[in-house]
């Protein structure tokens, strides 16, 4: 079995498939044409760019090249987790970055050093894609967790204040909302874990198989990755929800609803 390299022509043929989306958008008057064009351009440009960057990084496998790249990836993930929802609070971006950073690096370290045992620790062929996969899922958890926490607290304000009025502590008042938020943040990963291999063949596994790895080996990696992702997104979600809680409740057991800002 040979590895089939893709030429520019091959890619162009695939890219033409976007015309199906365009035709659908025009036909059904979805008004998505502009977004489609942009999304297509971004897909191509971003992936080509990362291809070049990774090619370069793999060639210069020094920690001072790999580490800044990992930091940059983490920062971008943290920023995206801060999202564009309709509500926010001052400090949300920082909370997102801290949650994404702390959880994904801890779990990536366990995965790379204890499980896969790569030497040196920054071997980019492993470190970068694995951190990337962890980040992608953690940011979803963090983002959903914070979003849901804000939503639960503002719609459940009267319950929160009822608990405080009865003599409940701020944590007792926030608990219900926090549980819902953590659950919401962990759900996508749990769903993914329960259908993996049946409904979806994960990208990494597919990639390894395409590159000529035996499916049995690819599957082992995928199992490890799934657990890394699950751990990191759970940790990140809990961390994000707790940070949100600390922002919105004061030390003197008040719920500071006014800190939730509606975005236009």
């Amino acid at each position: 079995m040979n590895y089939q390299n893709l030429s520019a022509t091959d890619i162009s043929i695939a890219a033409c498939l976007i015309l199906i989306n365009g035709a659908l958008s025009l036909g059904l008057k979805l008004g998505l044409e502009r977004q489609l064009i942009w999304a297509s351009i971004r897909t191509v440009v971003q992936l080509l760019a990362i291809g070049y960057i990774l090619g370069w990084v793999f060639e210069f496998a020094y920690w001072y090249v790999v580490l800044p790249l990992m930091c940059l990836m983490t920062l971008i993930a943290g920023f995206s987790a801060a999202g564009r929802g309709k509500r926010t609070y001052a400090g949300r971006r920082l909370d997102s970055i801290v949650s994404v950073w702390g959880s994904s690096w801890l779990i990536a370290a366990i995965g790379l050093l204890l499980v896969i045992q790569i030497r040196p620790w920054y071997e980019p062929q492993y470190a970068i894609p694995i951190l990337g996969m962890i980040l992608g899922n953690t940011l979803t958890g963090v983002s959903l967790g914070i979003e849901r926490m804000m939503q639960e607290l503002s719609s459940g304000r009267s319950t929160v204040e009822m608990i405080l009025s009865l003599g409940g502590s701020r944590w007792e008042a926030a608990q219900l909302a926090a549980r819902q938020a953590v659950r919401a943040g962990m759900t996508p990963t749990l769903n993914q874990m329960s259908v993996v291999g049946i409904v979806s063949l994960p990208g990494m596994m597919t990639g390894q198989v395409l590159a000529g790895q035996s499916p049995a080996d690819a599957v082992r990696y995928q199992i490890v990755i799934m657990f890394l992702i699950a751990a990191s997104s759970a940790l990140g979600t809990v961390c994000a929800v707790l940070l949100t809680y600390r922002r919105l409740f004061s030390a003197d057991h008040r719920f500071m609803m006014h800190k939730l800002i509606n975005r236009g």
Binding site: S158, S165, L166, R254
Partner: protein, 237 residues
């Protein structure tokens, strides 16, 4: 049955405010002008005033649900520090205009406070609760009703009994009957009255914010008026 009440009344006021004031967060306009206010055992205070005059702001600040911008709230002559706030709120209970109930039955709601750390030492007293329900004209089967199915009046009765069963010393009532039918309003008044008479010596007190002057007259021995954030006396009723 009830917790042993002190035999002599405590001369210290229950709640005292010193130059307590609140500002609007965004505009900086005063919501509550600096107010020196004292609430002692045996006092039944009614506060009337137009909506937006700051009655609710005052009550919420007394409950320490909102932070004052200046001044302080004292409990029995002492400032309430952060760690003591839940304890303070267990003695000074704020009842909102719109009752908040948790999912479940009426009984689940009445048991709810005993799950809080502050009431860990106390246990739910079914007989006491049935007695309170009877005062509000509710049969024992009312306990089994689903919280979500209650009318506004019934929900307010539940929220009041939930607070009263815990024997608070002060209740802050923020227009508890504003949205209720006359019968439910009377039930709420009866419950508050009976709770108030419950202390063997005058150790209990309440503040009732109302826009209903008849109710304010009926339910108070001290009447105050709030106007544009300024709290003034209306003379004894």
């Amino acid at each position: 049955m009830s917790s042993p009440a002190p035999l002599t009344s405590d001369a210290r006021p229950l709640i005292e405010t010193r130059k307590l004031s609140r500002l609007d967060l965004r505009s900086g306009a005063p919501l509550l002008q600096p107010v020196d206010f004292t609430l002692s055992g045996g006092e039944r205070v009614a506060i009337t005033g137009s909506s937006g005059s700051g009655k609710s702001v005052f009550l919420r600040t007394l409950a320490l649900l909102d932070a004052p911008d200046a001044g302080e709230v004292l409990w029995r002559n002492e400032a309430v520090d952060h760690a003591q706030i839940p304890l303070y709120r267990s003695r000074v209970c704020y009842i909102a205009q719109r009752p908040a109930l948790v999912d479940g039955s009426v009984e689940d709601n009445l048991r709810f406070p005993y799950g809080l750390n502050i009431f860990k030492q106390q246990t739910f007293d079914l007989e006491k609760v049935k007695g309170l329900l009877r005062q509000a004209g509710k049969p024992d089967s009312f306990l089994l009703k689903t919280a979500g199915d209650l009318s506004g009046g019934e929900a307010q009765v539940v929220s009041l009994i939930r607070a009263i069963q815990l024997d608070p010393q002060v209740i802050l009532l923020d227009e508890p009957t504003a949205a209720l039918d006359p019968q439910s309003s009377r039930d709420v008044e009866t419950l508050v009255d009976t709770w108030f008479q419950g202390g063997t010596v005058p150790t209990r007190a309440y503040i009732w914010v109302s826009h209903d002057h008849d109710q304010a007259r009926r339910m108070s021995n001290i009447r105050l008026e709030m106007h544009a954030g300024m709290l003034t006396a209306m003379g004894d009723a």
